[in-house]
């Protein structure tokens, strides 16, 4: 899509390490061959409130990382659930992704 821009915001912990979830999402982006769809990677650095990712989180009202910002024309959509992003934006969810998304949307199912 020509006028679509995707920003991936990942978090760096106070220790300087990436947060575990962000690392997992990066691994999944790699495994799924999705990196070409990502236009920008922005860091929310816990050690630096002025880091671009922290500022973006404040601006957009996002309280958890990682998250994706999808800008299409004047429309901005935030995805904090990676699999929802994969399914709705990349249209690339496989059966396991869909099952995991189903679990995310129905949290009690894992107790079955």
């Amino acid at each position: 899509m020509a006028d679509r821009s995707i920003t991936f915001v990942k978090k760096i912990l106070a220790t300087g390490e990436p947060c575990g979830k962000c690392r997992d999402v990066e691994d999944r982006l790699t495994a799924g061959g999705h990196w070409p769809a990502i236009d920008r990677v922005v860091v929310a650095d816990e050690r630096d409130p002025d880091s671009e990712g922290m500022r973006l989180a404040v601006e957009l009202g996002v309280e958890r990382a990682p998250f994706f910002v999808v800008q299409t024309g004047t429309k901005t959509v935030i995805y904090t659930v990676f699999l929802k992003f994969v399914k709705e934006v990349l249209d690339a969810a496989n059966d396991t992704d869909k099952a995991q998304l189903l679990l995310a949307e129905n949290p009690g199912l894992d107790l079955i």
């Binding site: 978090k11 912990l13 947060c19 575990g20 979830k21 962000c22 997992d24 495994a31 929310a44 816990e46 409130p49 002025d50 922290m54 500022r55 989180a57 404040v58 996002v62 309280e63 958890r64 990382a65 990682p66 059966d95 396991t96 099952a99 995991q100 189903l102 679990l103 995310a104 949307e105 129905n106 949290p107 009690g108 199912l109 894992d110 107790l111 079955i112």
Partner: protein, 251 residues
């Protein structure tokens, strides 16, 4: 009638019909090939005890994740013999499990959360099985978890229904408490998983379940390591406030 506590619920509220009535109603509406009971190998054995008195050849299935406690496997077999029923063990797709374990090892859930593993070992086999049924019966109770506080006695199962195939879910124990369940088990000499005697309130996969203390909620016995991991993902409020402060005053 199964127990006094169930009868009391019927008298008190229409919404809390007794579990026996809920199951009987479900069996009247769905034939033997259309409905099945989901059995986790824990205290939801109560469902089997009630249901087999109404329909002795009731369909029962369990999700065999491959990671259950040995005690649970033995308990499932004990229940199979005790009630003389067939229990279908639903297993995950071998290739899915092999891919996950090859990529991430046997204990990836401690690092990445349990959702991916549960999706492969539970959700996909469950979805596959429910595609061949019109209704299922679960032991879900409102007192089990914050994710279950709104569980109704009966619901259209939006998670597993499709445009072409409606699935109904019955939760006959929705209004029961843990105390109700154990009163029933003791009052009716129902066999139970010996892990309960070891302090397990919630019994799932072996690596993801642990005993809880006398005053702990049963949810604390599952995925206990994830609360800390979840906090790690937060964009800390103090930092966010700091950015706002700079934004208003510095620029």
């Amino acid at each position: 009638m199964a127990t006094r506590s169930i009868e009391t619920k019927t008298q008190d509220s229409l919404d809390e019909r007794n579990a026996e009535s809920v199951i009987a109603d479900a069996f009247e509406r769905f034939g033997p090939e259309q409905i099945a009971i989901s059995f986790s190998g824990a205290e939801d054995v109560v469902l089997i005890d009630i249901a087999t008195k109404i329909r002795p050849d009731v369909q029962v299935f369990s999700l065999d994740t491959g990671r259950l406690h040995p005690e649970t496997y033995r308990f499932i077999e004990r229940i199979r013999d005790h009630y003389d029923i067939r229990i279908d063990l639903l297993m995950p797709d071998a290739q899915d499990v092999q891919d996950l374990v090859s990529r991430k090892g046997l204990f990836s859930f401690y690092r990445d959360g349990h959702q991916e593993c549960c999706s492969i070992r539970k959700i996909k086999p469950l979805r596959r099985h429910l595609s061949g049924l019109d209704a299922w019966v679960t032991g879900q109770r409102r007192d089990q978890s914050v994710t279950r506080v709104d569980v109704p006695l009966e619901q259209d199962d939006a998670a597993f229904s499709t445009i072409d195939h409606r699935v109904v879910k019955f939760n006959p124990l929705a209004g029961w408490t843990s105390e109700d369940v154990w009163a029933y088990i003791r009052g009716n000499d129902v066999p139970y998983n010996p892990l309960h005697d070891a302090g397990f309130m919630s019994i799932g996969c072996e690596p993801c379940t642990r005993p809880v203390g006398p005053h702990e909620h049963e949810r604390n016995g599952r995925w206990w390591w994830e609360e800390a991991a979840g906090k790690e993902c937060g964009l800390h409020a103090q930092n966010v406030r700091a950015v706002k402060f700079v934004g208003h005053n510095g620029h």
